[in-house]
């Protein structure tokens, strides 16, 4: 049973560029959440997708956007990259619409901005 898979594992970009990160949910999961984890910190919630709609958003600017596809996979897009966007980006998936369901994480995409 495949768990949550994320791609790519590592990415290097320069300031001002745009990036797209991808997430495939664990089998049976229909809800996808994205988190940003800076070095030495806990993950911070970016947003959650369910039924192809953004259901809730954390305290992140509009440069961060996302999409969920009919097969429940998801993308995270970040525009106009800043040095401060360097972090580990984690995808977490859950079942049953997501609310108060256990969230299972992938191993993340490590994004480095030069």
């Amino acid at each position: 049973d495949a768990g949550v898979t994320q791609s790519p594992t590592h990415l290097i970009k320069t300031r001002g560029q745009q990036v797209t990160l991808r997430c495939s949910p664990k089998s049976g999961h229909d809800t996808v959440s994205w988190y940003q984890q800076a070095l030495g910190q806990g993950p911070q919630f970016i947003f959650q997708y369910y039924e192809e709609e953004e259901r809730q958003r954390g305290n992140f600017p509009d440069r961060f956007s996302g999409h969920q596809f009919p097969n429940y996979s998801s993308e995270l897009n970040v525009n106009a990259l800043l040095l401060g966007d360097s972090a580990l980006y984690l995808c977490a998936t859950s079942s049953g619409g997501g609310s108060n369901q256990p969230q299972h994480f992938g191993d993340g995409t490590r994004l480095s901005i030069l």
Binding site: G58, N100, F105
Partner: protein, 111 residues
């Protein structure tokens, strides 16, 4: 003040010791309480998932929630070197959609 506070450690213990990891929180709306373990260069792995106050045991792990004092604990019995990792507490509101993480506590178990 952060919503969820954790002592960052590192906490260093000998193999076989009982480990106590703790979090405090400020949001009284939190009803679900999760503990995750994160190894270096890996994503968080769900260890314990509890609802409201009380204790929950799973193997060597026991999660304890005291909502009256807004205090969360994770106990690890017979600690092993393989338990060396960062431990993250993550509460969630009822009908909520987001986990609110502490900064994590680094645990080192020495053989």
């Amino acid at each position: 003040q952060k919503e969820v506070e954790q002592d960052p450690g590192p906490l260093s213990v000998p193999e076989g010791a009982i480990v106590s990891l703790n979090c405090t929180y400020s949001n009284s709306a939190f009803q679900y309480f999760m503990w995750y373990r994160q190894y270096s260069r890996k994503g968080p792995e769900l260890l314990m998932y509890t609802y409201s106050s009380g204790n929950k045991e799973d193997g060597r792990f026991t999660a304890q929630v005291d909502k009256s004092s807004k205090y969360i604990s994770l106990f690890i019995r017979d600690s092993q070197p393989s338990d060396s990792a960062t431990y993250l507490c993550a509460p969630e509101e009822e009908y909520g959609n987001k986990l609110v993480f502490g900064a994590g506590t680094i645990l080192r178990v020495k053989s």
